[in-house]
């Protein structure tokens, strides 16, 4: 007997949810600003009028006048981009609020120019059931300054054995599924998740690592790990799993998203899979784009992350992957840890760096200013991440909800000089002088961040 075809109506599909606390819709006129939106093709001086949280008008600079009740923002010498989005952040709620919570995490995001985020499920308890996910949506409705979505676990307890109730979670508005922080080690479980995806939808976002190869490693395996006597994490611990999961996704016709690529071989594996028609996208982090294992020579625990900072050749391959289009977006993997957790010997320290407040300036300073990447490409990659999950693609166009970031590209600042919005200060870029400062962030139609120096005046 052949089983009956499952009918779509048996699954109640609802929209993926992005939730934030209620905020007053913005009324702003940004005048004389250089608008750059790679998707709508805008690249020049304009006036942009936001009314009731929507982009109401875009005109040639100097042509728009401000209606009553609208704040005036001087955009002269500044750039206006679509708000950045991040499909990969750790908001540490529930259970690890001493590292970060929804309020501090989204405040850090807003300060970095982000208008939407997706939180990872490796919390305590992990996000693997409807009650936990529901409670998070409720908390976000109270505390989140910018809209946040959540990716529950692929496997129950993040243990890698049994699938979570993915259909129910999806119906509640899950942004996709991931066991981030850990790989799905068992290929059979990975295959079942890909099969089950036909029922519930939702991208599977994958932390790729073969623990048999990474073992107790704490940094990239290479000459420096040999010198420092620190156990290495070889590039192949990532790339073999990327290749495996691309093969499985191709076989099952599934849709996967590879998180935080770090190795040259992984970029090649994704490129090959894309060429075969596998439905795979991937992301790179600001730290893998701009740092190498040389930056770990001093064993600064703020630069210990998983996957680790790798060789110069790996870093160049990641940059080239972004340029060629193999890598689809920039995601921070914002991973806050309390100071006392990081003030331990390197091998004992937890993995991760914060990144939301520094992402744009880091990439701009290290890659756009020297000419390695164009500004337009960086803006595109920093605004693409949620679109890959079928979520938001912010655009500067009339009628769109206002998701905007105003940046002064010339402004220089030192990371950490005035503290952080995040509850944690484990920033790999601490003390670096960066160029490019976020002045104003509008998320889902409301002002989410305003730099102190920016003066708004009522019209």
């Amino acid at each position: 007997m052949t089983p009956p075809e499952p009918t779509p109506s048996t699954v109640q599909r609802s929209e993926v949810r992005l939730v934030s606390s209620p905020a007053r819709p913005a009324g702003l006129l940004v005048h004389g600003v250089h608008v750059l939106d790679p998707r709508t093709g805008l690249d020049g001086l304009h006036d942009v009028l936001v009314r009731d949280g929507e982009i109401a008008e875009i005109g040639v600079a100097g042509t728009l006048s401000s209606p009553a009740g609208v704040e005036l923002v001087d955009g002269t010498g500044r750039h206006l981009f679509p708000g950045f989005v991040d499909p990969h952040v750790h908001l540490r709620t529930p259970g690890q609020e001493y590292k970060e919570d929804l309020e501090t995490g989204t405040r850090a995001a807003a300060a970095g120019g982000y208008c939407a985020l997706v939180g990872m499920p490796n919390t305590d308890p992990v996000i693997d059931s409807a009650p936990v996910l529901g409670a998070l949506f409720d908390a976000a409705a109270r505390d989140a300054r910018v809209p946040v979505g959540f990716m529950p676990c692929i496997t129950r307890g993040q243990q890698g054995h049994e699938l979570t109730e993915m259909a129910e979670l999806r119906a509640m508005g899950a942004a996709g599924f991931t066991d981030d922080g850990r790989p799905v080690v068992d290929a059979g479980v990975m295959r079942r998740a890909l099969q089950y995806q036909r029922l519930c939808g939702g991208v599977l976002a994958l932390h790729e690592e073969d623990p048999a190869l990474s073992h107790t490693g704490a940094m990239h395996e290479g000459e420096l790990s040999a010198l420092l006597g620190v156990a290495g994490i070889p590039s192949v611990s990532e790339s073999t799993m990327v290749a495996r999961d691309c093969a499985l996704a191709g076989y099952e016709g599934g849709r996967i998203h590879v998180q935080h690529l770090s190795a040259l071989e992984s970029v090649a594996a994704v490129a090959a899979a894309k060429a075969r028609g596998v439905q795979v996208t991937c992301e790179a982090s600001p730290h893998h784009l701009t740092m190498t294992d040389e930056d770990v020579r001093s064993l600064d625990t703020r630069r210990k992350m998983n996957p680790p900072l790798r060789s110069a050749a790996d870093r160049e391959a990641i940059v080239e992957g972004l340029r060629s289009g193999v890598i689809d977006c920039i995601a921070t993997d914002h991973a806050p840890h309390a100071r006392d957790e990081k003030e331990v010997p390197f091998e004992q320290a937890p993995m991760g760096t914060t990144g939301l407040e520094t992402a744009f300036a880091v990439v701009y300073t290290a890659l756009v200013v020297p000419g390695a990447l164009t500004l337009s490409l960086v803006v595109e990659k920093m605004t693409a991440g949620l679109g890959l999950l079928g979520l938001l693609v912010p655009q500067i166009a009339v009628g769109e909800p206002a998701n905007l970031v105003l940046v002064d590209l010339a402004a220089e600042w030192v990371v950490g000089e005035s503290g952080y919005e995040s509850r944690s200060d484990n920033c790999a870029f601490a003390d670096r002088r960066l160029q490019g400062k976020v002045l104003l962030t509008v998320a889902a139609g409301a002002v989410a961040y305003r730099e102190r120096s920016i003066m708004l005046s009522a019209a």
Binding site: L228, G229, A231, P234, P345, F346
Partner: protein, 315 residues
Amino acid sequence: MKHLLSIEDLDREAIERILDRAAAFAEVSDRDIKKVPALRGRTVLNLFYEASTRTRSSFELAAKRLSADVVNFASSGSSVEKGESLKDTVLTLTAHSPDAIVIRSPYAGAAALVAGWTPASVINAGDGKHEHPTQALLDVHTLRQKLGSLDGRSIWIVGDVAHSRVARSNILAFQKMGAHVTVCGPPTLMPRGIEALGCTVRYDLDDLREADVVYALRMQNERMDQAFVPSLREYAAQYQINGRRLGPRQVLMHPGPVNRGVELSGEVVDSPQAVITMQVKAGVVVRMAVLFEVLAGAGGRTSRTAPRPTEPQLA
């Protein structure tokens, strides 16, 4: 010199300065009354997070022969077992105003971290698999006594290089002193990229005869559980230094404690080529020289005979 954290930080001149002083201190160890007042009134704190008999007692003897006061702090039976962090332990102990902290830790970079948390001089007595600088200094001292100079000598370091801080410090130290270093061991216990340190990598002992010095590393039993080598029997067959492999003019070294019948056969341990007890003896005088260097030597604190104030001073 304020701290001794790694051999990497030292140049040949600094190594020679410390070892020349060690040679001068050697005479003290042969006296009936084995004590000089060089560090009288100074406090040396031994902070050991790993079991250690010879290194800890060697540091203790060295400090006492220089008339320093010594406090031993072991992780077992202390606040560490109650969950105190390394930083809090160091801050607590620093409140007692030690002049030097000697630290052994299972983690790379621990000594350098401690140096950032205390005004005391810090001496690395082994940090994870990273470095063990005083071991390398005492090994160079032993070889200078035995051979005069290391210039142009061929030194083979044989065994588990991957898990050995002794290997890493000695590769650097022997090379700085003009020797050529070959590391040899099972490929599974050879860290990828080690040749970047300037040494030659070999996987068999076929050319061991070219060595002037054979330095065998301890084969730790726990490596067997992790299946890095198929069996101790196979390891011994491939890498054991025995009477058949060791030439009559070669010097044999080992950091101790020896696994007789594994990395060394019994007969070579007891042979005249073995300088293993010379190494232990060198340990005390070299550590005297290191303590003197960081507490009273050039670039460190100035030597004083008067009792020092209770507050620690930054150099």
